[in-house]
């Protein structure tokens, strides 16, 4: 059981990294990764929202939508729930951690439309349908791992970008182009983890 959870957690971080392997959540990945500090704050907020969203959407789907045969409402209900949750997180941050609230700025509302969050909530349900042992706890662990994976990708990339700042980049590549090139190289490096988790725990 625990070994299974660890495997899910590690897989979500390394082999199934939502940003670098499944290319979800690219907007904050490129937008907030200029500094390690804000990248860290943003990823923690995303992790929090991911776990919270999964914790709410999974029971909603399983105990409300499925018995009523309303599986097709999945997307719209999930978007609704995530939007409300992000708003809640924003209110909480504004009250208790204003420095993080200021640092995140416009990107906090952007978590609402962050496809990584929606992706995590929908993909865990898809996985649960394919594999009966993938239940609520596994979904939560997967969501947490996805958030940590987002954090790892963000912080790594922020470090890369901080070094890029000091480089003499050809004029035509400055700004977003070199950032995208760097992002693709970081994503390629994550391909190296393929099969690692199975080899470790399998």
């Amino acid at each position: 059981m625990i070994q299974n959870l660890v495997a899910i957690f590690l897989a979500a971080i390394l082999t199934e990294n939502y940003v670098l392997n499944q290319f979800l959540g690219i907007c904050p990945f490129l937008g907030v990764s200029k500094k390690v500090n804000t990248a860290l704050g943003m990823s923690i907020a995303v992790t929090f929202v991911m776990v919270l969203a999964t914790a709410v959407t999974w029971p909603l789907y399983t105990y409300l939508l499925v018995p009523n045969k309303l599986e097709y409402l999945e997307t719209i209900v999930f978007i609704l729930v995530i939007a409300a949750l992000v708003q809640l997180v924003e209110t909480i941050l504004k009250k208790y951690i204003p420095s993080l609230y200021n640092a995140l700025g416009v990107y906090l509302p952007l978590i609402t439309t962050n496809c990584a969050v929606l992706g995590v909530t929908m993909l865990v349900i898809e996985r649960g349908q394919a594999d009966a042992t993938f239940g609520y706890v596994e979904s939560l662990v997967n969501a947490f791992g996805a958030g940590i994976g987002f954090l790892v990708a963000m912080v790594l990339f922020a470090g890369v970008r901080e070094r890029l700042e000091l480089c003499d980049i050809p004029k035509s590549l400055r700004g977003l182009p070199i950032t995208l090139v760097a992002a693709s190289l970081v994503a390629v490096s994550f391909l190296g983890f393929q099969g690692l988790v199975d080899g470790l725990l399998g």
């Binding site: 409300l64 309303l70 719209i76 209900v77 609704l80 708003q87 809640l88 909480i92 009250k95 204003p98």
Partner: protein
């Protein structure tokens, strides 16, 4: 009928619950807004330049409203803003005008480059190589980081040294933080003698690398009747509060690195 009604009810119900939850949360966790600070923020120019020493206009407005800061620190706003804020807050506000000054005169007439620099045209980059590209390790390299930082086109780089036009300087301090050598600092906007050298090496070393650098000979100290000049870290420093702009130190300086600062006409 049920096929349509049930989904509508479920989605509307979730929306209603979420909306109510958010409304309650926003009431419970409402952040009290400082009305005074908001009013002050309206008056401030909104340039967010940081000349006041606070993090942008919002930070300054907050400090003003809390009574922690004095009005008149806002250089871009000048007298009009100082007057408006002091009226609003009911305190007196005298404006301290100041201007940024480059404390170096080491143009190519007096210094040489010790290397042929072919890197990024930025002082910050050049300063990492062997203490900078100019012969004097404290001197202006003239690659214009301050010029790029200035939003008011007040800075020009000519013959390897930057100079700031006090008529255009708004005192926003962007150049101060841009200079990797720390050569730019504020002086009050009044007639005074200023030492245009920041070299902390001993006189003999300074003499080798620069034709105009202060060698710390203390002639200016002896000639000053108002005790305004001191030699600190092997170079002279004028205390602007004591200086009367009599010009004696300017005449006495054998290196001509003390100049008389004049207030530009339109700033009186």
């Amino acid at each position: 009928m049920n096929d349509i009604l049930l989904p509508i009810l479920i989605v509307a119900g979730i929306g209603l619950i979420a909306g109510l939850g958010l409304a309650i949360a926003s009431i419970i966790m409402a952040v009290p807004k400082d009305e005074k600070a908001e009013a002050v923020l309206e008056i401030l120019p909104g340039a967010n330049c940081g000349a006041c020493g606070y993090s942008g206009c919002a930070g300054y407005a907050k400090a003003l409203a809390a009574g922690e800061a004095k009005p008149g620190l806002c250089s871009p706003g000048g007298e009009a803003v100082a007057k408006a804020t002091s009226e609003l807050l009911g305190v007196s506000g005298d404006v301290e005008y100041k201007t940024a000054l480059v404390h170096c005169l080491g143009s190519y007439d007096f210094t040489t480059d010790k290397m042929e620099y072919d890197g990024i045209m930025s002082c910050a980059a050049a300063a990492q190589l062997a203490g900078g590209i100019t012969s004097c390790r404290f001197g202006c390299m003239g690659l214009g980081d301050c010029m790029k930082a200035c939003e008011y086109n007040a800075i020009t780089v000519c013959n390897g040294v930057a100079s700031i036009d006090p008529a255009k300087c708004k005192g926003c301090s962007k150049c101060v933080s841009a200079c990797p050598k720390g050569l730019i600092s504020f002086v009050p906007l009044k007639e005074q003698a200023v030492v245009r050298c920041n070299n902390c090496d001993k006189g003999a070393v300074t003499n080798k690398v620069c034709g105009i650098g202060c060698i710390g000979c203390t002639k200016c100290v002896r000639v000053c009747e108002f005790d305004a000049v001191k030699v600190v870290d092997s170079h002279a420093v004028v205390d602007p509060a004591k200086c009367t702009a009599c010009g004696k130190c300017v005449e006495a300086c054998p290196r001509h690195c003390i100049t008389l600062f004049k207030v530009p006409e339109q700033k009186h």
